[in-house]
Amino acid sequence: MKNKHLIDSEIQQFAFDESECEKDVVEHMSSCSLCKQRVEDYVLLSTSIKSIPDPALGFDLSKRVLMQLETSSKKKPLLDYFVYALITLSGLLVGFCVACFSLFCINWFKGNSTVSMAFIICIALSILMILINDIMKSHRRKMKMLKF
């Protein structure tokens, strides 16, 4: 049996997780009025915390959430059309640019030496790798937040 008074973590363990307590802690508790008092203090504190009324919002949360859901679902089709239109426009613009500058690009590639081409490709690949790494990291972080 422990002759010294219990430390605070043991007192709290006895108060809230008695089944996990070591045998000598339980034995000490059976004979020490001071430690018993300390356990009672924590139990009392716990009871007082439980008696605090639950906080409440000053409005009907479910009603407001459902209203927002309805509004956002109404907005969605318009937003979808806008996104599709934007994608189509971007496609057309890229096509136009490629058609206009294809000759210039071919000449530019032919005019550069192999070393400078390799240099440009290396830089482009490095930037691509950094971007992919960043995207993967943020994706992993988001998935971790909802890992259920």
Binding site: D41, L61, F148
Partner: protein, 197 residues
């Protein structure tokens, strides 16, 4: 747990089929936990109201990805906790600010209390505590401590469920809870002594 899970499955299925009343039921069933976490983590009332709505809108969007590995309420609790964490991170507010000196001083206070053998007086003071005093002392704790105390004592969640919500290992969680209760108890006793009660 199984009954909870089958109810959760039925509700989620209905929501995914477009039944908004089922989502209303989910909101009503889980708003107590959501509001409790938000109130403990966030101080500003307007931010609290915005975040409460944001949590359920996020839950609605992600409901299809819920895998039923935990209770639906725990999953929504996790979304709430992470939403609050992100909010505090943006505002550069620490959820836990522990310095070792602080911990030592808590030990000293506790030992002083024991050494003076004033336990009966302290216990009397504790018995006299009104819940407003305790509530205001809980408010003075760091956001993480407040949240853990409220999840354990008010919501009566198990260590496992609290661990799932906060992503804290059980040992760390228990350790934080010990420290939170000890700090709360010492703050209460300290204040009452100062007022010569």
């Amino acid at each position: 747990m199984r009954q909870d899970q089958s109810t959760d499955k039925k509700l989620v299925k209905k929501v995914l089929e477009g039944n908004s009343n089922a989502f209303k039921t989910i909101v009503v069933n889980t708003q107590g936990l959501v509001v409790q976490i938000i109130y403990k983590m966030i101080k500003n009332q307007e931010d609290r109201e915005d975040l409460a709505q944001e949590v359920f809108l996020k839950a609605y969007d992600k409901l299809g990805s819920f895998k039923f590995n935990s209770k639906l309420s725990t999953w929504i609790g996790t979304i709430t906790y992470n939403t609050c964490l992100n909010f505090l991170e943006k505002k550069k507010i620490l959820i836990l600010n522990i310095d070792e000196d602080g911990l030592e001083s808590w030990d000293l206070i506790d030992r002083k209390v024991l050494g003076n053998s004033n336990s009966q007086v302290d216990s009397h003071i504790l018995r006299k505590e009104k819940h407003q005093i305790i509530a205001s002392e809980i408010e003075n704790l760091p956001p993480l401590y407040k949240t853990l105390i409220s999840l354990y004592h008010n919501q009566e969640l198990s260590y496992k469920e609290i661990g799932e919500i906060t992503s804290l290992p059980e040992g760390t969680l228990k350790n934080y809870l010990y420290r939170a209760r000890k700090q709360l108890k010492n703050n209460l006793l300290g204040k009452y002594k100062r007022e010569d009660l």
